[in-house]
Symmetry: C2
Subunit: 501 residues, 2 copies
Amino acid sequence: MKSDELFALLRRRGVLWPTAEIYGGAQGLYDYGPLGASLKRQVEEAWVAWFVGLSHDYYRLDPAEILPEAVVRASGHLENFTDPEVSCETCHAAFRAETVLEKIRPEGVDGLVSAQIAEILLANHARCPNCGSTALSVPRPFNLMFGLDFGVTGKERAYLRPETAQSSYLAFPRMWDVGRHALPLGVAVVGKAYRNEIAPRQVLFRMRAFTQAELQIFFDPAGFPVPFARVREEPLPVLRVPRRESGEESPEWVTAADLVASGGLPEFYVYHLVHCYRFFRDVLGYPADRLRLFEKSDRERAFYNRLQFDIEGRLESLGGFKELGAVHYRGEYDLSRHGEGSGKDLSVTLTDGRSVRPHVLELTFGVDRNVWALADLLLGVEGERTLWRLPAYLAPVSVGVFPLIPKAHAAYALRLADELAAANIAVRYDDGGTIGKRYARMDEAGTPFCVTVDAETLAEGEKKDTVTLRERDSRAQTRVAVGELVSRIRTATCLPRPPRY
Amino acid sequence: MKSDELFALLRRRGVLWPTAEIYGGAQGLYDYGPLGASLKRQVEEAWVAWFVGLSHDYYRLDPAEILPEAVVRASGHLENFTDPEVSCETCHAAFRAETVLEKIRPEGVDGLVSAQIAEILLANHARCPNCGSTALSVPRPFNLMFGLDFGVTGKERAYLRPETAQSSYLAFPRMWDVGRHALPLGVAVVGKAYRNEIAPRQVLFRMRAFTQAELQIFFDPAGFPVPFARVREEPLPVLRVPRRESGEESPEWVTAADLVASGGLPEFYVYHLVHCYRFFRDVLGYPADRLRLFEKSDRERAFYNRLQFDIEGRLESLGGFKELGAVHYRGEYDLSRHGEGSGKDLSVTLTDGRSVRPHVLELTFGVDRNVWALADLLLGVEGERTLWRLPAYLAPVSVGVFPLIPKAHAAYALRLADELAAANIAVRYDDGGTIGKRYARMDEAGTPFCVTVDAETLAEGEKKDTVTLRERDSRAQTRVAVGELVSRIRTATCLPRPPRY
């Protein structure tokens, strides 16, 4: 489906819609409705189960989204978290320089200074995307953080965090005390980040308020032992820099062992890259042939990142590969900057007596983007039905409960729905329209199971207290005792976990 | 425990700490550590299970926290969401007028205009709480919303929402379409709200970024049918306005039926008040003798609230009764304001052909405050132990898993911990120190169950694959087959739900 068509479907089904829709919306802000809120939460829980599940020493935090100025000064965001912006001197509209240059220079503007961008604009007679004028300003750096007047004096500044990662770095010394005094130590945050994007677009892909899930692993720079043998044969769809620079877009299949042996990557890095890839393929259920591991070059990645692969998905709605997550080896940059900024020594003493400042491996994941990707990759028209092939544990509703004939069977069906809810199962009762219509609504919402209460459920006899259980993908219908439903549904909706290190 | 003492304990255990602690913190902002983040999430889930569980037509949403200016203009927040602020002309510190007047006028400043406050300050020779000077400014209204420059022009304004409620009102027309076209229709939001408090204090009680859980019930003003018979005999600890005005602080026990018959309150209102009270008493487990239902007078409640009872808890750490939740009958104010503000007709047509603009009943709940109240009311020193008597379904960790002798039993215990985690049970593995020390850590964290793997677990014989299960409150120890653990723990940690209407 095209982006507009997909958004229209999601809006109609109450998955999401623009914030303050009755006021005409607000650029780059979206509200999740009942299905979307539940799907987003399930994606978050699946991410936590998988990544925090990597070790007993990995923890989830819930820090505030507002940071004092000293923090974003030390992290470099106050100075450098900018996007070059160009304004039109004719119509006064403002644009990201990248947007204006999109067709002329598809490789983007990363690494170029303002004067270089200005030169390219001029040399190519670049035009305002709004009015077509060539009277474009020299690019100026536009800081993407939202600043706040904090407190009553008007002199104190704070910022909505531009990434959750900073909250985790600040927590490191406290977490060292709370944990086992051992590395690696992992800190996960699932929460909001905010960016005043110059040009929000592509619905959930460039929002001004969005949810990140990020795991920061603090590890001993002298070594991060991982059970690499478990992953060495894993084939990975990789697009490395030399191949990219020769113009290739499609990945090559390379084993994890090859990436280490001939690719020069450390085992700990590839081990985590494999687990990220598996999360997209095995947990979220994305088709492997729609994924690639895209290496960023020196020029493209932030200067403090020693290694960076983005995990990208090929999305029909957005016309190509898009970043869905990434693995950043950030080295000692973060603890070093916050050590200087705060004047606190953020090194720790290990049991062997060495004092080290941990390095950071960051696994980052865009929650909203992946809600969209789940729709793009798994929701579609198949024959006469619209079907969302969500893995059962991600589905907003696990089971639909229907009375075949509402007048006769509603009381039983409602009681059954309550019993399932009491067992913490996400249930939706529906008595509207034909059974076919109700199945169709559930297919569209990705509900893996539907049960129907009918005359046989109520009547004395062999089928008393049994219901028709209908499976979404196969449409197979079987007769099941109501007493078995809880365990059947629970088994199917248990979140997958990785093996621990 | 006193506030400082309680906070020190919570900080030491990694429940919470000030945001950006290494930079000296930020007033009114706190980060939740591993135990706190999990407890807060459990409280949120318990709230959702209970209140969204009231009806199949109640839904949870997840809307953006940023609202365009038109929204907060229509809601009245731009004009009226202010607190009178006084500054000291000697030391330049700023204070809430209420803080300066605290001792002189314990009933607060609600309803007073600036000139009246100025007169009281002067007449009482009020002094600056910081330097003692009497040179205090005339109070000025200080808007508590955080404003944002939204977009690149610097002309567009947006605000961090001061309450989650506004997001739900904006969603009403969309939710009407998504739902069954019937009233009552409930919309629940658990999310952040932001207030630039002049004087943040009392740790989680007046924060600048905090989490609210609010259910907005849109209902037909011609009648909101509830099964009142189910609650009529419920005794409630009520403190009504006349009794308050005679100087009483302690509640009277009154039945729900009495509140309707002789108290003049509508059945639908009292029905929901009972369910709120039950949530605090039965779900959160607060002692009934520490709760009261505190009626707000005309002068104290917002002008659009027709009825308001706060649910208050008597907290030792904060020296008295504090608001933990409330039930607001907001009438037609909200949909009427947003109807005017947006120019959209927010009335709906019911199946009987009537066109109505729904009224709103709001059930509101402060998540952070209740995390604090759970510590104040249920965490304490009992004999030689520090014990957190959290209900099992709220505990951050459901079960601690220990190897009796780490060298001999760790492999089995780790495997068991993984199996429990795979069944979505919150487990913590601990092999540090004596078993007594590990029990003590779990008691302090409120963990309801601990299991210990020992030689008998591993050895062939009758007790193979059994473990010692130790119950937190009673300290009772029983021998249990590992195969039974999942169902034992699940039964104890299932979230309570109310009967549906």
